[in-house]
């Protein structure tokens, strides 16, 4: 068995320590300037990565983050685990009953805020592939077009929830419509993305398109009906008979990883298993709020910084900054999402100004877009310049959401 050598272990632990401490410091500084924590984490990644550290102190960069050897495998495993955990907690906050409760307006908003940006992104990528460096009429062209549509249609529940909380809108009608619609966006966005990833990663393997769809739907339906029922029955026992909070923590994370392993084994990406497991566990009435908080704290404060810092380690943001691609992605993101969500809310019965508040609220992409982009980059679906454009778009939409919402609030 290959093992980390004494030196490699020291490097591995030092690198993690550096990432955690620096990202926390940056996060706290960013908080003073009212910037999202994820922005600080990304900046730390850029500073520690090839963009800054690699440029000015290449030896230190290569020492801390070696590009070859066993440490890279260890990092790869850790980052894969991080993204699985992030998707698990993202799923934990998706509560489909909330959408049903909000009724027509939430359904219109969520459908329109997915469909319009999806087709906007898909059409531009399909008809103007050269803008993104794609070769027309190739399998990657289709996958890229599907991906861009999906990337533009997704929302970021965590950042949206935070914005609404800060603006005192969380429990208002508008707040609940935004939250419910973002949940639907997340669910279908990740389902679709898993499908695209599955096609991209297992291109040419035996499982056909029909089977991929069937497996994704079958797994989702099973987990959200029978699986959820089993979880509902088991959680009270776990939370009262096993050690607290260790019992619920290890069983929940165990279920998440088992589901992730299952979806990976059937050639659908592990993230889907984790996301659906998160929905099934998080939506259970039996899950104590304290247990939910502990899981969130654990993932958000350990795995999230590692993942977001690691993004900056992989890509040189200066070299891959392409103003044309950034501008196109930005314009498409704003037009598609704000128009789609606002129109949906308006058709659902909201007044024009309220509908625009919903539109700008749902425009925040935040961490979810960054995760999506990273996975797409790793899978070879997108180029580094498109990835950089997506990261910038995620940050700009997240930062601009609250001020633009305020403009239309009475």
């Amino acid at each position: 068995m290959t093992r980390l050598t004494h030196h490699e272990l020291i490097v591995f632990l030092l690198a993690i320590s550096t990432m955690l401490i620096f990202s926390r410091v940056a996060g706290e500084l960013g908080k003073k300037l009212r910037l999202p924590v994820v922005m600080g984490e990304l900046l730390v990644g850029i500073m520690l990565g090839p963009t800054i550290l690699g440029q000015f102190f290449p030896d230190l960069f290569t020492y801390l983050f070696p590009r070859t050897g066993n440490v890279t495998f260890a990092f790869d495993g850790l980052f894969s685990l991080s993204v699985v955990m992030l998707l698990f907690v993202a799923g934990m906050e998706v509560q489909l009953p909330l959408v049903l409760k909000q009724g027509k307006v939430a359904i219109y908003t969520s459908v329109s805020s997915m469909v319009i940006p999806f087709f906007t992104g898909f059409a531009v990528a399909w008809y103007f592939p050269s803008l993104f460096g794609q070769t027309p009429n190739t399998p990657t062209h289709l996958l890229f077009s599907l991906f861009l549509g999906t990337a533009l249609s997704i929302s970021a529940l965590p950042v949206i929830a935070r914005i609404l909380m800060d603006m005192n809108l969380f429990k208002t009608n508008i707040g609940m419509i935004i939250i419910a619609s973002a949940m639907v966006n997340d669910l279908f966005g990740w389902l679709l993305f898993s499908f695209i990833l599955s096609l991209s990663l297992h291109h040419g393997e035996t499982m056909g398109l029909g089977y991929t769809i069937l497996y994704i739907l079958g797994f989702g339906v099973f987990m959200l009906t029978i699986g959820k029922r089993i979880i509902d029955k088991a959680l009270p026992w776990i939370q009262t008979k096993l050690s607290w909070p260790g019992g619920v923590l290890s069983i929940s994370l165990g279920v998440c990883l088992a589901c992730a392993a299952f979806t990976e084994s059937i050639n659908i990406h592990a993230i889907l298993g984790a996301f659906i497991a998160g929905i099934a566990i998080g939506d259970s009435v039996q899950l104590h709020e304290k247990a939910r908080e502990i899981i969130h704290q654990f993932v958000t404060n350990f795995f999230a910084p590692l993942f977001f810092v690691s993004i900056g380690l992989k890509v040189n943001f200066i070299q891959n900054f392409d103003i044309v691609i950034v501008s196109i992605v930005m314009v498409l993101a704003f037009i598609g999402k704000v128009t789609g969500a606002s129109l949906g809310a308006y058709w659902g019965g909201l007044k024009k100004r309220e509908a625009l508040v919903v539109g700008f609220g749902m425009n925040a992409r935040g961490a979810m877009e960054i995760i999506l982009g990273t996975l797409a980059l790793n899978a070879g679906l997108i180029s580094a310049p498109v990835f950089v454009a997506l990261i910038i778009m995620a940050l700009v939409t997240s930062l601009s959401s609250a001020p633009l919402m305020r403009k239309f609030l009475d």
């Binding site: 906050e93 009953p97 027509k104 429990k171 009435v285 709020e289 908080e293 969130h296």
Partner: protein, 295 residues
């Protein structure tokens, strides 16, 4: 008993309950259901409309006549309707035609899984009725004690009518105190606070939310026509429907009162259970669903 014209239905207030319908099925619980319905209609001085959807046979007629006579139901204030057809729609149509204010149904506390998903008659009616519905889980032949009233005060304009209906019933049943309960649920709260909240910030956020819930509940209580009845206010944390159901069971409530649903609930609402569906899945006690007719 006179037939009302349909124009009287729109804008009719949620109470008083002047016409009470009882859906009867000639099950072993028939006598208990009729006894309970008779006691309720006496207290509310309401007319009684007995509805049976199914074949009218001499045996059934004799059994019902005997029961009416045994229970002392005033025949001048009671009418029987024998109907054919699909039970749910037939009962609901008849309730509409007769401007029924309250429909009483017997219901099992919990139904088998498949039946719950497919929808039993009582549950289907509860989801669709355009009048208030009372589900009696354990009707008795002896005088029962419906004393502990609990109202689920959700954030909805209908809630004020529901609390006033509860107060009206409390007066008629000589109940001096009712509880109104608000379920505090903020989806996404854990996620929102996990990232960048210090402990004092998180506590302040929680406190602000709790205070807002208490204030909202208090303002509902303030607006109601209490008329000497004490209102106990309580905010409980948890998912709507499930939490109040659990709380009603813990507090041994006799009657849980809630708003009628804003939209017609369907199979999806049972699969992705929420709000009233949690209560219907496992009734904690008798359940009154108050239908406030819009003006």
């Amino acid at each position: 008993m006179e037939q009302f014209d349909l124009s009287k239905l729109k804008g009719r207030p949620a109470f008083p309950f002047e016409t009470i319908a009882v859906a009867i099925s000639f099950s072993p619980r028939l006598e208990a259901l009729l006894s309970e319905s008779k006691r309720i209609s006496d207290k509310l001085q309401a007319n009684l409309l007995l509805i049976h959807v199914g074949e009218k046979t001499p045996e059934k007629e004799t059994r019902l006549d005997k029961l009416i006579s045994k229970l002392g139901i005033d025949e001048n204030k009671c009418r029987i309707n024998w109907m054919d057809g699909e039970p749910v729609d037939t009962i609901l149509k008849l309730c509409k035609l007769n401007v029924v204010d309250l429909l009483i149904l017997g219901a099992l506390s919990k139904e088998k899984l498949l039946k719950f998903y497919l929808g039993s008659i009582a549950r289907k009616i509860s989801r669709k009725a355009k009048c208030s519905v009372l589900l009696l889980t354990n009707p008795t032949e002896e005088a029962s004690r419906i004393k502990r009233f609990m109202v689920c005060a959700e954030e909805n304009p209908k809630t004020i009518h529901t609390v006033n209906t509860a107060l009206y019933l409390a007066k008629k049943f000589n109940v001096g105190e009712i509880s109104i309960v608000k379920e505090a649920h903020v989806p996404g709260l854990a996620m929102t606070m996990a990232e960048d909240s210090t402990a004092p910030e998180a506590n302040r956020m929680r406190r602000n939310l709790a205070e807002a819930d208490e204030q909202e509940l208090h303002s509902v209580a303030e607006k109601c026509d209490k008329d000497g009845i004490t209102i106990i206010e309580k905010v409980i944390k948890g998912k709507p429907g499930y939490t109040v159901s659990k709380y009603a069971r813990e507090k041994k409530a006799d009657l849980l009162i809630l708003n009628s649903p804003d939209t017609q609930l369907g199979l999806f609402d049972r699969i992705f259970t929420h709000d009233m569906e949690y209560i219907l899945a496992d009734l904690p006690c008798n359940l009154l669903i108050v239908h406030s007719r819009p003006h």
